[in-house]
Amino acid sequence: MSATNTTAPSAPKEGATLRDLQGEIIKNAIFITTALAILILIVLPVGSLLIGSMRGEQGFSLDNFVEAVSSKLTRQALLNSLVLGGWTSFFSVIIGVPLAWAVSRANVPGKPLIYATATLSYLSPPFLTAIAFVGLLAPNSGLLNIFFRDVLQMPELTFNIFSMSGLVMVTTLHTFPFVFLLAASALKSVDASYEEAAQILGASKFRTALTISLPLVAPAILSGTLLAFVNAIALFGSQAIIGLPARIFTLPTRIYSLFDYPPEYGLASALSLLFVGITILALYLQRSFLARRSYVMVGGKGARPQLVNLGGWRWAVFAFCLAVTVVAIILPYAALIALSFSKSWGLNFWQNLTLDNYRFVLFEYDVTQRAIMNSLYLAIAAATFAVLIGAVVSWIDLRTTMPGRKLLDYAAIIPLGLPGIVMAVALIQFWLAMPLSLYGTLTILLLAYVGRYVPLAVRSANSSLRQVDATLEESARVLGASWGTTMREITLPLIRPGLFAGWLLVFVPVIQELSASILLFSSSSMTLAVAVYNLYETGQTERVAALAIINMVIISIAMLLANWLSKKAAGRSPSDPMGVSA
């Protein structure tokens, strides 16, 4: 191609050749840098995790795995994680599927509220929800428990949050949106004629739902359930805050405790690999279910499903939705806000309202301001790097025939199967063996974040690049544009909305990341989430709440700002290919 475009009559031959050469060099430099980044961020750390887990006292051994499986503590942690994941998935379905059905098939009022609830539940940092529910349902000091026990004199209504049930509840509030969103979109896209055909043959509405609709959307529901499972077992924050006081160890908290002095790197690596195995198995199942989803898309031409008129029942369904909103959003946030303004938490908290907690965390707790700056810097940097890497990786995958491009693509999505704490263990293993001392710096946090969330960036770049036909790039090259010019003038403007979406997709989880940070931070590289968790461990509940609220405010402002920026940026670029050719 570089040879042919110089034959264009108007192109200055000498200059074009030189420019082409320059372009090739830049292009290859970008490719190599990206490949190296993937190597350092993902392949080598995961590799050293493998090696580390198999290194015994005298060279190669499987002792770590034997210990991981035979130790009672570890076995219990594994079992607890599976129990937690199982129940969380179950309740995610119980909550997610009816809500999905309500918004997509029934004339239930308040549909925007249901979507808002699901979105907010997903975006709320799970450790904040956990802290809020500790304030409400801790056995002695929990406000609701005090109310039931002392005011209503009904101790049977009290609930101990420090239990597996409590952990399942708090986790479900974060994971049900996975089931909800997938099920709702599947229910909406099932062709109405499938159901109408069953009806005209004599099947009642209920029978139709059971024998036709449910089997058609089952792959989507199962897929959402497995995502809920994978996410549930990976959450360090809620499992530490609620599980540890109850002496319920799970895989993330068990791995975390292995880093207490003396650290047991080998065992931690082996356990991490076990963890990865479970996650990857679940994700593999999820993918194969999703592949079977193809038949939801069959429709297209058919009519949209008609909404079921529930009559008076719609208020009952609405009440259920409202209950979810109250438990998932209103209760925890109200509790956090109330906690943050009270001098001492209790039934009479409203008599001594104070701003002291905020004054303390903002101005006296010297960690806070540093943590805010660190988190913002890390989120912006990580999102930017991840998107750059994602764009190049998917461009290489989709537009070149370079050998190993598929390998690069696979490597870039490995972290999907890595829980945050495992990513941290892998990075520690790798960088400990390097001459460069990164432990405890912002850099290692940045590496962890970019590596962990690069799959999200790859996927969003990939899907937007797929929508840009390769001929749009080729026609620029034929007109004599170099590779760099083509990218700058054609490709990047066209995929910019997708890139911004990917940027947000990385930014949002990074700014509240705890699972990996908890093993990697130092006092100088403190992040917001870690600051909240550390303060919580000192037991100053009211001050934690104040910090948590500040955390939420910063997250919200950052997300709104990022959202606004990306909309603005996306708006500037032409969304339809026709606009480009005009």
Binding site: A197, I200, I212, L216
Partner: protein, 348 residues
């Protein structure tokens, strides 16, 4: 068996009450009839079908089957209790069920005995030439085969009424032709009342006992195919049913007079009128013996016929179809003749 009475039905969607999807529709469908609802897309034919099926509630009017009230405002027997069959445009063959399971579904709902069910499914599949496909899944079938599964699924429960929503529109031309014949034959053999929706007038002509031409939510004409084609009730029907020539003129004393010719033997209301004549009803003669002279502008040889574009003295052009071997050269001077009883007249 069953006759359907659609009595003054109206239906509009949402707040657009100014443009109802169906307004004051009045159709009587006798028992054992193949009736086609024909019209361009968006004319209300599918809405009418869905009203009959019970998926929609009418705003006013009623639908009765054998005198039994099935649909009225606020009083709709749901589809599952109407005992009808329906074949959808996109087949709606359930992708997660095998051919056997698809066809057996209605029998399962009716709690049919297992052996009887197997026999009935086998019969239904034989009827649509799909014996041997019982274990296949829909994604292993071609479009035409899926279409037959949908048919068998509807027929196996022996409905009195079968509703078909453009069932052939997704098939290729050859298959469509064959399925047409099979559908017609099936209706005759079973005696089921077919209500068939299509926008294809040739399909409607070939299949139907009765055609209801619908436009803008209103019934334009109801009649046998030959009636609708030969004596259209209005300009829309005339135009929709096939190619027409329209000539503006004046009717007086049993004669139609326009700039180029005068046609006698006309029995139409006196006054300004349009003469409507189909291309195949105009005869071209080389000899000087007809209504008037014309010049051949263009000739298109189509194999089974020849289509001419001819110009009259006033400059008006007509389309004429002749036997393919009547080959006239471009620019040739011809005379044309038209018989009044093969024309329709609409007051202008």
């Amino acid at each position: 068996m069953a006759g359907i009475h659609i009595n003054n039905i109206s239906k509009s969607y949402g707040a657009k009450s100014d443009m109802p999807a169906v307004s004051n529709m009045e159709i009587n469908i006798p028992d054992n009839t193949f009736l086609t609802l024909l019209g361009p897309s968006g004319c209300g034919k599918t809405t009418t079908l869905r009203l009959i099926a019970g998926y929609l509630e009418p705003d006013s009017g009623e639908i009765r089957v054998n005198g039994r009230l099935l649909s009225a405002k606020g009083n709709v027997v749901p589809p599952e209790r109407r005992g009808m069959g329906m074949v959808f445009q996109n087949y709606a063959v359930w992708p997660h069920k095998t051919v056997f399971e698809n066809v057996a579904f209605g029998l399962m709902i009716r709690k049919t005995d297992k052996r009887e069910m197997e026999k009935a499914v086998a019969e239904a599949l034989a009827m649509v030439n799909l014996t041997g496909y019982e274990g296949r899944y829909p994604n292993e079938l071609s479009g035409g085969q899926q279409q037959r599964v949908a048919l068998a699924r509807s027929l196996v429960v022996r409905p009195d009424i079968l509703l078909l929503d453009e069932p052939l529109s997704n098939l290729d031309a050859k298959l469509r032709e064959r399925m047409r014949g099979e559908l017609k034959e099936l209706q005759r053999r079973t005696g089921i009342t077919f209500v068939y929706v299509t926008h294809d007038q040739a399909e409607a002509l070939a299949l139907s006992d009765q055609i209801a031409v619908i436009h803008e939510g209103k019934l334009q004409q109801l009649g046998r195919p030959v009636d609708v084609y030969v004596t259209p009730a209005n300009r829309f029907v005339a135009d929709f049913m096939g190619t027409v020539n329209m000539v503006r003129g004046e009717v007086a004393n049993g004669q139609f007079a326009c700039k180029d010719f005068t046609l006698s033997g006309v029995s139409a209301q006196t006054g300004a009128a349009d003469l409507v004549v189909r291309p195949e009803n105009i005869v071209l003669n080389a000899a000087d013996a007809g209504l008037c002279h014309a010049r051949v502008l263009d000739r298109v040889f189509l194999g089974n016929l020849c289509e001419y574009q001819i110009a009259l003295a006033s400059g008006a052009t007509l389309r004429v179809q002749t036997h393919p071997l009547q080959l006239l050269d471009q620019g040739a001077d011809v005379s044309l003749s038209i018989e009044a009883n093969r024309c329709t007249f609409f007051a202008a």
